[in-house]
């Protein structure tokens, strides 16, 4: 099977997954407790039958299940997430904004954690069983087991409450609503100050996992014959490690980055909760509290799509990087 068939197959699987996600989404949210009609009606000043009828018609709640399902699949595929029960505004605009915020929150620490984890993992492998190796394994195991929200709370306690270096929450200060920032430096600087603590949190959450994985895959590769050959050729240890071992070890690492992307997004949801950061995660919680189902469905869908795309990219990379991959 050639690369093209492989890619086509992957695309096909991803599309099926998207469809499954939509279906699961639909059924979870039809199971959700609480009658949305009543919730909406409770927000209206008058609770008369006509009002309720209007709501039902507006949100299409009177149709039978299969018609709603069909409409649902189509609207999800075309990105029509509908109107939020809570704000009565189209969800799609909010989704873009929140997704952007979440990606700003997640990507920098995730990339940094991957690089740092990889480098430390390689260094740890160089002297296996040595002091640095044991120390890095132990610290990353501990970082890996610490609850993410707890790390965030401790960071807030130390750096925000006691030292007052960084703000404890939000992405921009409250007073910007009245006095917008004057210079571009103030604008970016303040935003950055808000991001530092969540970034540290997410970095600590991820780097341990990356380090352990890098170390484990490196250990697997380092016993291979070609590494022995490379050493026997008299290559420098660094060349052996980075060119021969890391290059081959990078394959499972890439896959795992993609697979843990969902995990990282999950960590971001909790981190956003602690720092009241207006991303997708905080929005989820808000929507659950307000029973804003359309918004919840959209968030769910968007997160799942992100993960599917990440997996797909990993598959592609895998196929492109490693000529040995049996496409299939």
């Amino acid at each position: 099977m050639g690369l093209r068939t492989y890619i086509l197959k992957r695309i096909f699987y991803s599309i099926i997954l998207v469809y499954f996600v939509i279906t699961l989404n639909f059924f979870i949210f039809t199971m959700m407790p609480g009658d949305p009609v009543l919730i909406l009606a409770s927000q209206m000043p008058r609770r008369e039958p006509e009002v309720i009828q209007t709501i039902i018609e507006t949100f299409g709640l009177d149709q039978p299940l299969h018609i709603r399902y069909g409409k649902y699949v189509i609207s999800m595929l075309t990105g029509q997430f509908g109107v939020s029960y809570e704000t009565k505004k189209p969800i799609i605009g909010e989704v873009g904004l929140r997704l952007q915020n979440t990606l700003v929150l997640v990507l920098p620490p995730e990339i940094l954690a991957t690089i740092v984890g990889l480098i430390l993992g390689v260094i740890a492998v160089r002297k296996r069983g040595g002091l640095f190796d044991s120390a890095s394994v132990i610290t990353s195991l501990i970082a890996y087991s610490l609850p993410v929200f707890w790390i965030a709370m401790i960071l807030i306690l130390v750096f925000s409450i006691n030292l007052n270096w960084f703000p404890a929450g939000h992405s921009i200060p409250d007073y910007w609503r009245y006095i917008p920032p004057q210079t571009i430096w103030e604008d970016w600087g303040t935003r950055l100050r808000h991001l530092i603590l969540p970034w540290i949190t997410l970095f600590l959450l991820s780097y341990g996992g990356h380090l352990l994985l890098a170390r484990a895959t490196m250990l697997e590769c380092i016993t291979e014959d070609y590494v022995v050959t490379a050493r026997a050729k008299g290559l420098k240890e660094r060349t052996v490690l980075f060119k021969h071992t890391l290059k081959n070890a990078s394959l499972p690492i890439i896959t795992s980055i993609a697979i843990t992307f969902g995990f990282t997004l999950g960590g971001a949801i909790i981190t956003e909760q602690v720092f009241t950061y207006p991303g997708l995660g905080w929005w989820i919680w808000d929507s659950i509290v307000n029973r804003d189902y359309p918004a919840l469905q959209a968030i769910f869908y968007v997160i799942a799509i992100c993960v599917i795309i990440a997996n797909f990219m990993a598959d592609l990379l895998y196929g492109v990087i490693d000529p040995r991959v049996k496409y299939g």
Binding site: I16, I28, M32, P33, L141, P147, I154, T223, L296
Partner: protein, 518 residues
């Protein structure tokens, strides 16, 4: 019979061999040590701490809210704190038979011998099924005596040892008065500093007839009772009677002043009045309590930490077990039966793997909350089991796929073994190593999932967990109290770490290929 014996002895040998390899695995032993520590704590929780980790309606409070730990004052940054003071050991007079044993003082302000104090065992506050006992102060003047106006004091003098004032005092004094028109009885409840000027008259009432029920001071003796403060000092939110009253070290007196107003009107008659006293105590709540302070409801944080080990272990082990069983069943079915079944099961697994579990847990927990009325720990365990099996099912499936092509399966088939028998007798034993390792490594996943769900507020109101402790701390000014938020996080990490180490060790021991790597 002998084959069975040989089999058993073989198994024992194998187990011994396994244990001896395991015992040489340092990481594994560290994991076991941490685990044993937490299991001990979880089992012995009631022996370690007497306090309840959650609020029980009707139970009296044990401490003030947001208390600091008792060792806080020894820290360089620490300030003076006070601890609880409980002068009266036996407020219901259950064991005391004489005044000395109660530690109370009884004084009369005249030389009249008409007032006496007795212990009675026939009457007492009927609060529980306890022996009815109380103190009776009897005024009995015969008709040949002059009517005196006698004040009897039943007081407790106690030493307040702390430089810092307490945050709250809570007192009680139940009285049952048998009086008559002739001898009205006045009862005052007072708190005062011995030899000082500060005196707090909490309650005063005059009785002119016999009461049939026990009467307790109203407003109740409680320094946080805003009604009383408003009555005395006006609506001032700054006033804390506990702080002003016990502002320094020294001897303090809490007691009843009972005045028998015997007047000349009843001269020449036999006069009798009795005041029964029960449930007589004062308690001072200090600004510090226990090893780790108190939470926003005045509950002991250390108890919560200790009992939290129980819940974490139960949640972790149960859901790990359940999810491993589910994963095993699905993996075996998909792997061995294959074809259509495999396709369906694996696509479903992919689906669950793609959806990030964090939002999934939140939504499903919200649904289950609606079904049971409140978030329940059992729902949570089920949910974790139902969501957490996916990765393991895939692992089982791929190892079954390779196993089913092996010659010994073919041999079994050739002999005529059924599908069920092949799975149970030939495939299952070969994936058991995987099962043991996964059992250990999925416990941390369950424990952390429980922790963050509780932390988000989806906790069972009847159970105190480490995650909920952090939720409570977060939801109040508690985030400043590092002694409250640091321990639960460390415990979650430690218990997770122990299972991870255990899993690694099992992996190394059960897969000899890995052993030389480390």
């Amino acid at each position: 019979m002998s084959t069975r014996k040989a089999k058993i002895s073989f198994e024992i040998k194998r187990f011994k061999n396994f244990m001896s390899i395991f015992a040489h695995n340092r990481r594994g032993m560290i994991g076991v040590a941490i685990l044993v520590f937490f299991i001990t704590i979880a089992v012995a929780a009631p022996l370690i701490t007497p306090y309840s980790p959650v609020y029980i309606p009707g139970e009296p409070p044990i401490a003030f809210q947001h208390g600091k730990p008792i060792w806080y004052k020894y820290l360089p940054v620490g300030e003076e704190t006070s601890e609880n003071v409980e002068p009266m050991q036996d407020p219901h007079f259950r064991t005391a038979t004489s005044l000395e044993e109660t530690g109370l003082e009884f004084t009369i302000n005249s030389i009249s011998e008409s007032v006496s104090l007795q212990f009675t065992s026939t009457i007492g506050r009927e609060t529980e099924e306890r022996e009815k006992r109380c103190i009776a102060i009897v005024f009995n003047r015969t008709n040949d005596e002059d009517p005196p106006e006698v004040t009897a004091n039943l007081t407790k003098v106690f030493y307040y040892p702390y430089k810092a004032p307490p945050n709250r005092f809570l007192g009680q004094a139940a009285v049952l008065v048998k009086a008559s028109e002739n001898v009205p009885v006045t009862i005052n409840v007072v708190i005062e500093k011995v030899g000082g000027e500060r005196k707090l008259e909490w309650w005063s009432q005059t009785f002119k007839s016999s009461e049939t029920t026990w009467i307790t001071p109203e407003p109740s003796i409680d320094s946080t009772n805003r009604r009383w403060i408003t009555q005395k000092f006006g609506p001032d939110w700054q006033i804390n009677p506990a702080k002003t009253m016990f502002s320094e070290q020294g001897n303090y007196r809490y007691g009843l002043e009972i005045t028998f107003n015997d007047t000349l009107r009843s001269e020449g008659q036999n006069v009798e009045a009795t005041v029964y006293v029960d449930d007589f105590y004062i308690r001072l709540f200090g600004s510090s309590f226990g090893l780790l302070g108190t939470d926003k409801e005045g509950l002991d944080v250390f108890s919560q930490l200790v009992y939290g080990a129980r819940i974490s272990l139960i949640v972790g082990l149960l859901s790990a077990f359940l999810s491993t069983v589910i994963g095993l069943l699905i993996g075996l079915t998909a792997g061995y039966i294959g074809k259509f079944v495999d396709e369906i099961l694996m696509r479903f697994t992919d689906l669950l793997l793609v959806i990030p579990d964090t939002p999934l847990y939140i939504v499903l927990m919200a649904i289950s909350t609606e079904l049971t009325g409140h978030p329940s720990i059992w729902n949570l365990i089920l949910l974790i089991a139902l969501i957490g099996w996916t990765g393991f099912a895939r692992m089982v499936r791929s190892s079954v796929l390779s196993l089913r092509e092996r010659p010994f399966i073919e041999a079994a088939k050739a002999v005529g073994a059924g599908r069920f028998r092949i799975i149970m007798r030939h495939i299952l034993p070969n994936v058991m190593n995987l099962v043991y390792v996964t059992l250990a490594t999925s416990v941390p996943y369950a424990i952390t999932s429980e922790a963050w769900l509780s932390w988000l507020g989806l906790y069972d109101p009847y159970v105190m967990t480490w995650g909920r402790m952090l939720h409570d701390a977060q939801g109040s000014e508690g985030i400043r109290m590092w002694w409250w938020i640091v321990p639960p996080g460390l415990c979650i990490a430690a218990i997770s770490l122990s299972f991870i180490l255990l899993g690694y060790a099992l992996d190394e021991v059960l897969n000899p290929k890995l052993r030389k790597r480390y």
